[in-house]
């Protein structure tokens, strides 16, 4: 029973079925009516395009140092120069070009780490939710232990010991960010598993593997996509924190977190060195979060008409 019966006909009338929309149609309709989602998706799209076409867009080589052009301010500050739209850093490298190339680091690590987390979290979540019993107890214990781990601290230590590279950062950030997937897919799997269509499939002889892939996974998909977009933002922030603290991406690779750390020494005189990469990070992460929020709104009244 639903909690409140306001006597609203929630299903189509007995004879009027052909007028109702398919889930896909409803999804698309809501997608294009959700301002937050459109803004977020637009931001992400623009940044991804910039990342892919960075060599074509960047006005300078992001690694080219120039002693004569060190510490130039952006064009709107006195002493600025149209050649270097956003000025240069302490090594005379074009700041705009470095920011443009920085999208590649953030997006690669974001996608990579969120995928690693997805594989771990969804696997454990579906196993715990579907099989229950001791598997569930063991995985829940693992979850509590993972939550109790000071993630940033461990990530810093591991990156430092193993040696920093983009793949190490992806692996470590991913391995430390799977709890959200686990919590959501476990609960959703438990809910779906108790529904009658799963019992109907089992009564027709479906194996657990067939039930998981055919009955449960399609119903988890939208939740997983929503978490993926949120984890994208979280992973990007985690990378920037590690790089900022000096245990992430190493110079001279342009990473926004690292650029903030490099600009920190001079931030009282040249605040843009800190402000600009921060804004880039903010826009990318808020884009991912708006997209996630939007997708959650759009997909929330799942399947069941409640």
């Amino acid at each position: 029973m639903t909690s409140t019966d306001f006597s609203i006909p929630v299903t189509p009338a007995e004879d009027g079925a052909e007028t109702a929309l398919t889930p896909g149609q409803i999804f698309r309709q809501r997608l294009f009516g959700h301002t937050g989602f459109l803004i977020g998706a637009g931001l992400i799209l623009i940044i991804v395009v910039i990342a892919i076409f960075a060599p074509l867009i960047a006005p300078h080589d992001p690694f080219a140092q120039s002693l004569s052009a060190r510490m130039l301010p952006p064009v709107w500050v006195e002493g600025g120069n149209w050649d270097y739209l956003l000025g240069t850093d302490q090594n005379g490298r074009d700041y705009l070009s470095r920011l443009i190339y920085g999208t590649r680091v953030s997006i690669t690590i974001g996608l990579g780490a969120a995928t690693v987390g997805l594989l771990i979290g969804v696997t454990l979540g579906v196993i715990a939710g579907y099989f229950g019993g001791w598997a569930d107890h063991a995985i829940s214990f693992l979850l509590t232990a993972q939550l109790a781990l000071p993630g940033l601290l461990l990530a810093m230590a591991l990156v430092f010991i193993i040696g920093p590279s983009i793949w190490v950062v992806i692996g470590i950030v991913g391995v430390l960010h799977w709890t959200y997937y686990l919590v959501v897919t476990r609960a959703a799997t438990q809910r779906i598993r108790s529904q009658d269509f799963v019992a109907a499939a089992a009564a027709s002889g479906a194996s657990p593997r067939q039930i998981i892939w055919h009955e449960i996974m399609p119903n988890l998909l939208s939740a997983i996509i929503v978490i993926f977009t949120f984890e994208l933002g979280i992973a990007i922030l985690a990378e920037s924190s590690l790089s900022f603290l000096g245990v992430g991406i190493q110079p001279p690779t342009p990473s926004w977190g690292l650029m903030i750390a490099e600009g920190k020494q001079a931030m009282f005189y040249r605040p843009w060195l800190v402000i600009l990469p921060g804004i880039c990070l903010f826009l990318l992460v808020i884009g991912a979060n708006l997209m996630g929020d939007g997708l959650r709104d759009i997909t929330s009244p799942e399947g069941r008409n409640e």
Binding site: I8, T11, A20, L21, P23, F197, S204, G205, L221
Partner: protein, 543 residues
């Protein structure tokens, strides 16, 4: 004397994402002191909206318009929200709801929830309120009322919680009591007790009573007048007996015809080709559940099934009747191979179920479940859902499967244009037809239908029961029908088995058991089932 309640031309509309919904249209009702009014309708008829409007409990998006909405001479729309809450809601009009399990706050004691309104309003001192609460709990039939005051809602059963709800509304001595589907969530034997209690209290206190229900028979038995609503409109209103026995409107007649009844001629005919083959045979099934509270809690053992034996012969419909918790659904799961018995054996046409490969089972028995909203995968089209059992059995190719799906849809009277629709595009009745089509597509020997109609509106229930009956005639289907409704048994079953606390307490032909129950519990179930007839003396005799 002014009327207690006077509603003229009430309109309620709701702003929904899809546009405005006219939930209640031009409804006029009146009620006098001590009188009982029943409002009857199916889901979506606007009956609850009307009640919620009186209590100002409508959702935010609702807009209300009325030529007159007066309680005891006082125009309700004139009152601001604060005054309404202070003078009307509670002390003048009380309300009880459908969901006893969630209608009480889980974190406070019964005593606190009973007394708080009277104390907060300054009507009674704490000790006087407590005394009154204990008296009222006693009056509504709660044993050990003193002790119950310190307990929390989760320590009581659904029926007890509903009694507490009733006692709680009486704390403020309202002049009008609105009961919105007060017994729908409860077992039948409890239902009758709660309704009788409401009726008695109404007479005792000369209260007005509005009883809202989907069940015309239940309402007509206990009210002076009845209003029938359909799609937001009041289609018929009159003295209860008149509406019941001489309905004027087509919809009322249809509604009356739809209600399964104990006293009519069964629509059911004798089995087409009954043989003595036992399609399903269960011998001495026992199922124990061990549960722990938390990881290290003490073990508890629950005996859900206790030595149950039962057989369904080819071509017959066996009804398994019992209340919630009687073990009937556990038995269904075991017969379907979804759960294993702790001891005992199930066989299908002589072959032990345990030895059948999982996909082979689907040739013998297929399920139809209660809730049409959870029995279909929302992410799959009907064509995939219905064909799934065939795919799992690797039967045929896509062409032959499509043909089988179309045939099954025809059997259950689903139009072919719905082949590629998703479940969310269908109504509850249509979904249940899909579930039946999926069950039929493997051409099983038997169907196990677990409360297949109890989540549906009465008129839809009648259609689904008729469909099952038609299928039986056409295909010679064997059916195990699990239900809590004696009238459904009367209308559809050849034989009946009564289940109580994990045992089968009575078994026999439907006609025998219903007319001469030998078991006490069966008799109680029968007595609780509402009876009525077209002027037939059954109702009068029962009184």
């Amino acid at each position: 004397m002014t009327r207690l309640l006077d509603i003229q031309n009430l309109d309620i509309s709701l702003a929904l994402p899809g546009g405005m919904l006219h939930a209640v249209k031009d409804v006029s009702l009146t009620l006098d002191r001590g009188e009982a009014l029943g409002i009857v309708g199916e889901s979506g008829s606007g009956k609850s909206m009307t009640a919620l409007a009186l209590m100002r409990l409508l959702p935010r998006s609702a807009r209300l318009k009325a030529a007159r909405l007066a309680f005891d001479g006082q125009d309700l729309p004139d009152l601001d929200d604060r005054t309404f809450a202070a003078t009307i809601a509670g002390p003048r009009i009380g309300m009880i709801f459908q969901e006893p399990m969630t209608s009480l706050n889980p974190v406070y004691t019964i005593g606190r929830q009973m007394t708080e309104a009277a104390i907060a309003r300054g009507l009674l001192s704490a000790s006087a309120a407590r005394k009154k609460a204990v008296d009222l709990l006693d009056r509504v039939g709660i044993p050990d009322p003193e002790g119950r005051m310190g307990q929390f809602p989760h320590q009581m059963s659904g029926g007890q919680r509903q009694r507490v709800m009733i006692a709680m509304t009486l704390m403020l001595d309202p002049d009008l009591l609105i009961a919105d589907e007060p017994t729908t969530a409860l077992d039948v034997t409890v239902q009758a007790q709660i309704l009788d209690l409401l009726d008695d209290l109404r007479r005792e206190r000369q209260m007005g009573l509005i009883l809202i229900s989907h069940d015309l028979a239940v309402v007509a038995e206990r009210t002076d007048k009845v209003a029938v609503m359909y799609a937001g409109e009041l289609v018929e209103q009159g003295p209860a007996k008149q509406v019941m026995f001489a309905p004027q409107h087509d919809y009322t007649r249809m509604l009356l015809d739809s209600i399964p009844r104990l006293d009519g001629e069964p629509a059911h005919v004798a089995p087409v080709r009954k043989t003595d083959d036992e399609v399903i045979a269960a011998r001495d099934i026992t199922r124990l559940f061990t549960s722990r509270k938390g990881l290290f809690g003490p073990r508890r053992e629950i005996r859900a099934l206790d030595g149950v034996s039962l057989s369904v012969k080819r071509g017959e419909t066996l009804a398994l009747i019992g209340e919630s918790g009687s073990g009937k659904s556990t038995l269904a799961r075991i017969l379907l191979g979804l759960d294993q018995p702790s001891s005992g054996e199930v066989s299908m046409l002589g072959r032990p179920l345990a030895e059948l490969p999982a996909t082979e089972r689907a040739r013998f028995v297929q399920p139809v479940f209660q809730d049409p909203y959870t029995s279909l995968n929302p992410r799959r089209r009907l064509s995939e859902i219905i064909a799934r059992p065939l795919v799992l059995r690797r039967e045929g190719d896509s062409g032959s499967r499509l043909a089988a799906v179309k045939e099954a849809m025809e059997h259950v009277r689903l139009p072919a244009r719905l082949l590629h629709a998703y479940p969310s595009q269908l109504s509850g009745g249509q979904r249940q037809r899909v579930a039946i089509a999926r069950a039929l597509v493997t051409r099983p020997e038997a169907l196990i239908c677990d409360e297949p109609t109890s989540a549906l509106d009465v008129s839809v229930q009648a259609q689904i029961l008729k469909l099952l009956e038609d299928l039986r005639r056409e295909m010679g289907l064997t059916t195990l029908l699990i239900t809590h409704d004696m009238a459904v048994v009367h209308e559809t079953a050849d034989r009946v088995a009564v289940m109580y606390q994990g045992r089968i307490v009575e078994e026999g032909t439907a006609a025998d058991v219903l007319s001469n129950p030998t078991n006490d519990y069966t008799a109680r179930l029968l007595a609780a089932a509402p009876r009525f007839g077209d002027g037939a003396p059954v109702t009068e005799d029962a009184r």
